[in-house]
């Protein structure tokens, strides 16, 4: 029992981080209908910049720079590449971002090499005790930050002019532009946000209990794909829930590996995708995604 709770809590905190990255995916998708496979390497970029700079600048300035770098990179992808073929079909756009991902990931992992770069977070490997459950402080921080960001995101989305422009554009781009909403700006904003969220995700995914920034961190964003899909690709709320579910599932399957060994060991990596497939079988557009209906 106690173990279950420990795992559950651990999973939720991990999931909170996934939620942030997933939220990035969804934001970009809503605004520009792009499945952004480059999210992974943007995440890596953010983490890399922080890890490289925290010694010279100090941690918080480094974080700021990292976020900016990731956001800027993300925006560039949109402005320089995506914008030129806005009306291309999903597949084409997705593969375009895959190309970008290959470029970024290759260069970054070349720079990182064998190193395991310390992200230099002040909470190091401290541990916090919550109702008798010991959790890495960084995860608690991550949880809080995620909560704050998600809440802030929701508020901005709901109440600010930007949010309204964003939602209008997402629902009906043409009409939105008839209302004087500048689609390109909305898009750029969305990409910037996604980049920043990725960087935050990167920061926490690479600080304790993970070892630090390695060349392979980028693939962690792959774990967010099932989160996004089972949440529903165009639903921010879904992304958050999906992230949490995936976090819990992967931690639980790891924790109960002994009991689940009949399914083959090393389930941690597959389970999220299995869950995703099941959900899709029952709800073809994810838990909270809007069905696209066929028109004549």
């Amino acid at each position: 029992m106690n173990q279950f709770v420990t795992l559950l809590v651990g999973g939720l905190f991990l999931g909170a981080i996934y939620s942030l990255v997933a939220l990035g995916f969804v934001t970009v998708f809503k605004a520009t209908h792009v499945i952004n496979f480059a999210q992974g390497s943007v995440l890596l970029l953010g983490a890399y910049v922080i890890a490289r700079l925290h010694e010279s600048l100090g941690f918080w300035p480094a974080v700021a720079v990292g976020l900016l770098a990731a956001a800027a990179c993300s925006v560039l992808i949109d402005v320089v590449l995506i914008r030129r073929i806005r009306r291309a079909d999903l597949g084409t756009l997705a593969i375009l971002t895959l190309g970008v991902d290959i470029l970024l990931a290759t260069e970054l992992s070349r720079r990182i090499g064998t190193d395991v770069l310390n992200i230099g977070a002040p909470w190091g490997n401290h541990v916090t005790e919550l109702f008798g459950i010991r959790v890495a402080t960084s995860r608690v921080v991550a949880g809080c930050v995620a909560a704050v960001l998600v809440a802030g995101f929701w508020a901005a989305f709901k109440f600010t002019d930007w949010g309204i422009a964003m939602r209008s554009a997402a629902e009906d781009g043409e009409t939105a532009s008839l209302m004087g909403i500048r689609l390109n700006r909305v898009a750029a904003a969305a990409w910037a946000l996604a980049g920043a969220l990725a960087a935050v995700g990167g920061l926490f995914l690479t600080s304790f209990p993970a070892a630090g920034v390695t060349g392979g961190v980028g693939v962690l964003a792959l774990a967010c794909i099932p989160a996004v899909v089972l949440g529903g690709f165009d639903s921010p709320g879904g992304a958050v829930i999906g992230g949490l579910i995936i976090g819990v599932v992967s931690v639980l399957t790891a924790g109960y590996q002994e009991e689940l060994s009949f399914l083959g060991r090393g389930l941690g990596g597959v389970a999220p995708f299995a869950v995703m497939l099941l959900v899709l079988l029952i709800r073809p557009s994810g838990l909270f995604g809007t069905r696209e209906l066929t028109r004549v």
Partner: protein
């Protein structure tokens, strides 16, 4: 070309505007129009006459439909119109799109805020907001509801209110009366006048001539991308030309003598369809006699296409029955219905643009051909023979409709030609019953005459029954054996063309209170 007699200085001046879609289709062929400050100008015309294209050109939304201005100029407030839609809107030229297109997942409040984003400053917003509340008290009550839940009329009000929030100099209205009940249409008319009284110039695109002419100062009638008529609203309201355009005068019926038909009767009984709250069709009944040409007419949004979609199995009926011969169609999946020999065309062409005409036509032979992945993939003699036979037949039918260049990708053909390919494909299915959804929408008069010719001929030669959905009465009157008229999803008349034309209900539906 004569310009509209200008009283006030023109706030919007369109000169010799030419627009084409994807390089292929010429949608506007040199339209000139000048809108005097503070006036209401109505733009009339049939589907595809170029009304919406004109508005798209004005509001800068052509690129979205990969259309482009190929010639001419648009001057707004004396300056060259910017290309970017958002910039135009912020410049004070705001459009209310066809079919309202409110942001249905946003609340009414949020929709209005979205409109306000284009307003010059806070003060303007506040002022506009006050005005909107005064104009549409209903929106105030519904402020926190999702816009999607509003009724059609309320949505139209919201759409207009949303546009007013941008405090526009010129307001473009695209088919504001579309699918609205007469009372609401009148209300919309009043609203337009009130808006105009506040000094906002209005450009009104309408099918509902009556409504448009009742509120407009000036009007132009577009026909296939050109200005066919123009003048003051009153002149046009009186002109026979307009009457004749909107109420076909009966020509000598060119119906070819009926051949013996092997088709069976199609019996539609008490058919109802509702989408969520609103009823698209309620309790509609009619029968298509074997070998007859039956027309289903009514103004836009009357539920004609919905009806066709139920008959072909695309939509589910909420209640009622559709029997073809002995078979109940409402329970069958579309491809099963097709297998019974029921073929259809689509109003907005549903061909494969990158595929050649020939292959598009051969698709219709699908149910008649047998060869599969193995036989075809390995080019077995049987498969080749089969293809040869069917290709021969398809070429005959293409001949019948005067289609040449069967190797060209459909996407590269002109609109009119694609419409004919659409019809040809349906005929290639060797149907007993043919369902045609607005076959002449957006065609030049002689083009549509040719189409009418083609339909009657093929019907005569193939001995099939035809159910023809059309909003253009003129076209129907010439050829139909029997006409059923829908309005707001209800059957308001059923009979021979002559009878229907004299029907008061029908006149009202078409010319509104005016007639």
């Amino acid at each position: 070309m004569v310009e509209v007699a200008v009283t006030a200085p023109a706030v919007l001046d369109v000169h010799d505007l030419r627009v084409s879609y994807a390089g292929a289709v010429q949608a506007l062929r040199g339209v000139s129009l000048s809108v005097p400050e503070g006036s209401v100008v109505a733009v009339l015309g049939n589907n595809g006459a170029g009304k919406s294209t004109l508005l798209r050109a004005l509001s800068g939304t052509l690129p979205a439909q990969n259309g482009a201005v190929t010639g001419g100029t648009i001057a707004f407030a004396g300056r060259e119109q910017p290309r970017d839609a958002a910039a135009i809107a912020r410049g004070g030229l705001v459009q209310v799109p066809e079919g309202r297109r409110v942001f249905s997942n946003l609340t009414v409040e949020e929709n209005l805020r979205a409109g306000g984003l284009a307003a010059p400053d806070k003060a303007a917003r506040a002022e506009a907001r006050a005005w909107v509340d005064e104009l549409f008290p209903i929106l105030r009550e519904r402020a926190t509801q999702r816009a999607g839940l509003l009724s059609g009329g309320e949505q139209q009000m919201l759409a207009i209110g949303r546009a007013l929030m941008a405090s526009p100099k010129v307001l473009l209205l695209d088919e504001p009366s579309l699918g609205l009940a007469p009372k609401i249409v009148e209300r919309v008319g009043e609203v337009i006048r009130e808006i105009n009284d506040r000094g906002v110039t209005v450009v009104l695109v309408e099918q509902n001539a009556a409504m448009a002419l009742s509120v407009a100062d000036h009007a132009v009638v577009l026909e296939v991308g050109e200005v066919a008529l123009q003048g003051t609203a009153d002149e046009l309201a009186e002109s026979e030309a307009v009457k004749e355009r909107y109420l076909g005068v009966p020509r000598a019926t060119s119906t070819a003598e009926r051949v013996e038909s092997h088709a069976q009767p199609l019996e539609v009984e008490a058919l109802s369809v509702r989408f969520g709250g609103l009823a698209a069709l309620s309790d509609v009944s009619f029968t298509v006699e074997p070998g007859s040409l039956h027309a289903l007419i009514g103004p836009n949004g009357a539920g004609k296409s919905t009806c066709l979609n139920v008959l072909s199995g695309v939509y589910e009926a909420t209640a009622g029955s559709v029997r073809y011969g002995g078979r109940e169609l409402t329970k069958l999946r579309p491809h099963r219905i097709a297998a019974l020999g029921v073929a259809r065309t689509f109003q907005n062409i549903a061909l494969s643009p990158r595929v050649s005409v020939l292959d598009n036509l051969l698709v219709a032979r699908h149910r008649l051909m047998r060869s599969g992945f193995l036989a075809d993939g390995l080019r077995l003699p049987a498969a080749r023979r089969e293809r040869a036979e069917h290709e021969a037949r398809v070429r005959e039918i293409a001949e019948l409709l005067g289609l040449t260049e069967l190797e060209r990708p459909v996407g590269t053909l002109s609109y009119g030609t694609r419409k004919r390919v659409e019809l040809a494909r349906a005929l290639c299915a060797e149907p007993e019953l043919l369902l045609l959804d607005e076959p002449v929408a957006g065609m030049v008069r002689d083009e549509s005459a040719a189409m009418a010719e083609a339909i009657t001929r093929s019907r005569a030669e193939l001995g099939i029954s035809v159910l023809l959905v059309e909003h253009d009465m003129t076209f129907v009157m010439g050829m139909a054996d029997r006409v059923t008229v829908l309005d707001f999803g209800k059957r308001i008349a059923d009979g021979t063309p002559a009878e229907v034309q004299r029907d008061a209900e029908v006149l009202r539906a078409y010319l509104g209170g005016a007639a």
